[in-house]
Amino acid sequence: MRKVSASPHVHSPMDIRKSMLFVIIALLPSSIWGVYAFGLRALLVLLVSIAASVLTEFLLGRIDKKNTLGDLSAVVTGLLIGMNMPPQIPLYIPVIASFFAILVVKWTFGGLGCNWMNPALAGRVFVFFSFSSAMSSFSAPRALAADALASATPLGAVKTAIAGGMTGLDYEGVLNQLGHTSTAFAQSLGSTLGISPYTVDAFIGNVGGCIGEVSSLLLLVGGIFLIASRVITWHIPVVYLGSFAILSWVFGGVRAGLGLFNGEVLMPLFTGGLFLGAFFMATDWVTTPTTKRGEVIFALGCGFFTFLIRYFGSLPEGVSLAIILMNILTPTIDRYVRPKKFGYVKPVKEARK
């Protein structure tokens, strides 16, 4: 059959399914590291999360008599939820998170493309406030398994200590005081580079935390892959991480009594799921602005609120809430921020007579 349709007659090979597949591929290194660091239990959590998401999507599709599994978005949501779970989490919690993400956040508003909040983040935040203690108890990574204290995330430990009155110390000082340890590799690399071994461990992923968030290095690799394959652009991750880093540097030392322009930069960047958020959650197509300028505003907001919640809020981590807050503001950004149209150069004002 010869087909007749409107132009164009060629299309970019990149479609939604392929883009989602690329996101999954980009998430794999960090996920695999999580399974290596925290054991097979972590793999179980990931698989259960994915299965719960996909099953929910499938069952809801049955009601509407359509099958939307092919776009792979439910797999991405499930995988992200699993990566945002502590390794020892009771399995019903990721199931509830997945169910909430797909049913309440995604399908209630019409399915893929219609939700106004990142489903995976919404699912995570929902169970975080529902099961706070289970969501806040972490286990130590393989490399630090002998260290009892390593089961707390460094970010949480430092925040608690500073709130408790331990001032005048940087992160390394606080963690040393608390009796944290680091790997031998991090110590040697850290002394060569002149940075704290805790920072090195946090970058590599030898740190307590959620399954998929600990290795900033591998998340960075995945993020660069996504940018190189043009699924996302650099704007949101770079502006998000950059604005957060600057705020941390300028104001981050204030609460610890170190004064302005003396805040810790690298350690806060590498912990608390910031790389996972900046590269994979804040870049969600559906829930972020459609213009590049809008994306920059969105990312600045993410950086600002992450900083605000982390340093002045009651929670140690602020990435999820900051992104969700900016998701809510996205329609407003999209309403007012428009691209500059071609051929609308402002006419030169004529001189007054």
Binding site: A6, D15, T288, P339
Partner: protein, 435 residues
């Protein structure tokens, strides 16, 4: 490597597929048995047919007369007899009157005389361009004499369009390589009509051999022409993007290039102007690239106006598959898909493509913003499309629907493969109807 310029905002990089026909020299199509010459081969009012069934015609004789200011004459491509006058459907879908001409067995040798155009005044040359029925051959087919009648406005820059940014097409490329002397002389004819401040030929970087060849020719002849290589990006061949890339000026919304002191002319048109000025030969044939994965032997064919698509495809050895998925007149980004192989070649037919479709996964809009990022006009295709789908034509117009030139960047890049351009064509039609 020198730094090459391009237009700033938006654009896409489709696979250019030019290797299929790039190396094929221009070949003349054997004279077909019948020619269907449409009276509507240009933008504007159709020409009025001057011949009726049974009349004899001579090659180059005027057989259709421009019926209004924006219109163009049509000439007979052969010597022969008018066999019939019929309505014909063109690739664009428009139906027009056409003369079906049966060529004589023996065709005369014509248009070999050399005339001295340098002795003619700019006004006489402009009149000659009109009399020879020349239209823009890049595809838009705007009557050239109307474009060149600048009414005393000063022309800072004459920009020659050798970009050929549509994938597959190589007719302009072959012309630049094989007809360089003639094309450059045609540009000098244009320069005499317009007296421009400067002359630039813009050529994309996938044709660097044409850039260096034309540069050497320009030096050899001492013409005041700058050959400018441009970084590859679609739709650089659009005159607005080309002017941004070459002289860094933006044509204001709703205005014409002449309003910013520029005139843009396609390479093929320059060759036609050469033939008109030097040989007084009307526009009765053109180079057509016949290509695509569905064509057995892609070629660049010099075909008379009015030849049927089937004639050209047969000359290329037919299809490489039993039935290609689509036939396209023009390039794959902005060309028209058509069904009938009896469709005639017109003055604007830069290419005939037989394409094999890749399977497409259609989806829903996920607000990825790629259409916005890639729109060369700085529009928001996602939002215009949503408004049009819901019948809110005024909102789409407010968002700049009329600035959309249907270049197809948005629909090309859309990961959901939404029919955005189709929506905009519909939106324009509906809002015109309601106005």
């Amino acid at each position: 490597m020198m730094r090459m310029s391009t237009f700033k905002r938006g654009g896409v990089h489709p696979n250019d597929k030019k290797e299929l026909s790039k190396g094929k020299a221009i070949e003349r199509l054997p004279l077909p048995g019948l020619l269907t010459v449409s009276m509507s081969q240009h933008l504007g009012a159709p020409a009025k047919a001057l011949k009726k069934k049974g009349d004899a015609v001579v090659m180059g004789e005027k057989i259709g007369e421009a019926s209004s200011f924006v219109s163009a004459d049509v000439h007979s491509p052969v010597t022969g007899t008018v066999a019939d006058v019929v309505p014909v459907r063109l690739a664009s879908g428009a139906v027009s009157e056409a003369l079906v001409i049966k060529p004589d067995d023996i065709q005369p040798e014509m248009f070999n005389t050399i005339h001295d155009w340098r002795a003619m005044s700019p006004e006489d040359l402009l009149a000659l361009v009109k009399d020879m029925g020349i239209v823009g051959m890049g595809g838009a087919t705007f009557p050239t004499h109307v474009k060149l009648a600048v009414n005393g406005k000063k022309v800072d820059a004459l920009v020659i369009n050798g970009v050929e940014c549509e994938p597959y097409l190589t007719s302009d490329y072959r012309s630049m390589i094989e007809r360089a002397d003639e094309t450059l002389e045609g540009i000098m004819v244009l320069a005499r009509i317009l007296s421009p401040g400067r002359i630039i030929i813009g050529i994309e970087a996938n044709k660097m051999d044409a850039v260096s060849y034309l540069s050497s020719k320009v030096r050899e002849k001492g013409y005041p022409i700058q050959v400018m290589p441009l970084k590859m990006k679609y739709p650089q061949g659009d005159e607005k993007q080309l002017l941004k890339a070459t002289i860094d000026r933006e044509v204001p919304s709703g205005a014409l290039p002449i309003d910013i002191g520029a005139v843009v002319c396609n390479i093929g048109t320059c060759y036609a102007i050469y033939e008109a000025a030097v040989h007084h030969k009307p526009l009765i044939e053109r180079v057509v690239t016949v290509s695509g994965e569905g064509i057995k032997e892609p070629r660049n064919i010099l075909a008379p106006i009015g030849a049927r698509v089937a004639d050209l495809i047969a000359f290329c050895g037919g299809y490489s598959v039993e039935e290609p998925d689509r036939l396209v007149s023009g390039g794959p980004m902005m060309g028209f898909a058509f069904a009938d192989e009896d469709t005639p070649i017109v003055k604007g037919t830069s290419g005939i493509l037989a394409l094999i479709d890749e399977p497409l996964n259609e989806g829903v809009c996920v607000s990825c913003g790629k259409c916005v990022a890639h729109c060369p006009m700085g529009l928001m295709p996602n939002r215009m499309f949503r408004n049009i789908k819901n019948g809110r034509y005024q909102e789409a117009l407010d968002l700049g629907l009329l600035d959309c030139k249907e270049c197809g960047c948005c629909a090309y890049i859309c990961p959901a493969h939404l029919p955005l351009v189709q929506g905009f064509k519909l939106g324009k039609k509906m809002s015109r109807r309601r106005a």
